[in-house]
Amino acid sequence: MAEILEVKDIAQQEYLINMGPQHPSTHGVMRLVVSLNGEIVKNVQPHCGYIHRGIEKMCEKLTYPQIIHLTDRMDYLSAHMNNASVCLTVEKALGIEIPERVKYIRTIMDELQRIASHQLWWCAFGMDLGGLTCFFYGLRDREPILDIFEESTGSRLIQSYYTPGGLMNDIHPDFQKKVKEFIKYFRKILPEYDQLLTGNVIFQERTKGIGILSKEEAINRGLTGPSGRGSGFACDVRKRAPYHLYDKVDFKECLYEEGDTFARYKVRIDEMWESMKIIEQLIDNIPEGDYTAKMKAVIKLPEGEFFQRVETARGELICFIVSDGNKNPLRVKFRSPNLINLASLNVMSKDFKIADLVAISGSLDLVIPCMDR
């Protein structure tokens, strides 16, 4: 039996809609409880945890080489970077020097992964805004990268390629050739992305001035990655705390001051160009040598706390290991860039329309498994 409501009661009620857990624009199982006033978003309350697997708890029972295999299940689009975060922490803690060849390969793999991730983001973002054709363009160009990964690492999405001290196995003999072919191809094809989406009037209208976050707010809220750089926050870990070979290669940190959805979009497009530049500088000079450093069979970290900041495709990932000297860590914490970026969604989307909320959450490029861990 429905209650009879006065008109003024109805006017005061919030119109709540649940976006998710199954919703096309949350890109996974996340729930956004959105209070609306007509079409205007008044409040967004994210609910996470639908795919919480307790990776941090599992890590406490596993050895360090085993942890690697869990990490790429977090942000499956930046699997290499996630692996790198644990590997680098362990290497730093043990104080081992890894071969130059490994550093080269890791840098190239990371950048390839970044391009692949941004491509997937680009197609999903286009689709969020209703441009369905983008989806197929992005996936088409991502395919060669996955093929390269498959050849060298043995799998396409979740590679677990890095191990503490080096790599799982050496690169495929065709690796350099394939990568160079891909870069040549993608340099030609990337302007197409601009033609299809960036220059479109409707697209610019939909993204410019939408979801603005100032630089101070971005720093305060810890909005990192391309989303933070769209707000002018120079948060690129590759520049700020270089790892791999990022201090030796020449690349630009893409920064935009506007802080709106379009700026975040542009950062990612620019980053694809920069990633290609990095790969081109390295691909021809991969030195010969071992693909892994000599490691003990059982890795035991000294007592203490170790952390490593890594720039994934979505922001700053931190692997923080507290060790008590055993072969298992006492505590492993992954700072998920997605979770922290999500915290800004409410501020950004306030007083914009539902369609803008979709655009904004699309521009944050959220990957839910990373958020929930």
Binding site: K57, E217, I219, N220, G222, E305, L330, K333, R335, A343
Partner: protein, 152 residues
């Protein structure tokens, strides 16, 4: 600022802190009740300007409960770790740093959810990943779940 200068500065603000030697990153052990004042001072004073909280981690040592704050300055690019501990493992409570760094909101909710650490003055301290009616805090060392956790 170099680590030495930061160390001096911190000792000047709060003499009772403990700074252990030989850590890869400068680590400062702060008493729980003084943490908020130190953090606020570190953020607001112009020569340190720690304006970005990278990470907040709760750690269960089995006997004590600790929280680590990785903070860095976007201006000077120096990073330190603040650590605070309490022996009260059952109901650990610290001051929330939400009013200093807003990014702490989700970090603290996560620590509350998985470790049961309460943060005073947090605006919205709810569980992050688990259901509201979940019993226990999974990342604690004494957490047991006979159905889902297989002991080997």
């Amino acid at each position: 600022m170099t680590d030495e200068q930061i160390k001096e500065k911190i000792l000047k603000i709060l003499p009772e802190v403990e700074i252990p030697e030989g850590k890869p990153t400068l680590t400062v052990i702060v008493p729980p009740d003084k943490l908020f004042t130190l953090a606020k001072e570190l953020k607001e004073s112009p020569d340190t300007s720690f304006d970005y909280l990278i990470c907040l981690t709760g750690v269960d040592y089995g006997k004590s409960m600790s929280v680590f704050y990785h903070i860095t300055s976007t201006k000077f690019n120096h990073t330190i770790i603040l650590k605070t501990s309490t022996q009260n493992r059952e109901t650990p409570a610290f001051d929330s740093v939400y009013s200093i760094w807003k990014t702490a909101e989700y970090h603290e909710r996560e620590a509350y959810d998985l470790l049961g650490i309460t943060f005073n003055n947090h605006p919205d301290l709810r569980r992050m990943f688990l259901d509201e009616d979940w019993v226990g805090h999974p990342l604690r060392k004494d957490y047991s779940d006979p159905i889902n956790i297989v002991e080997r």
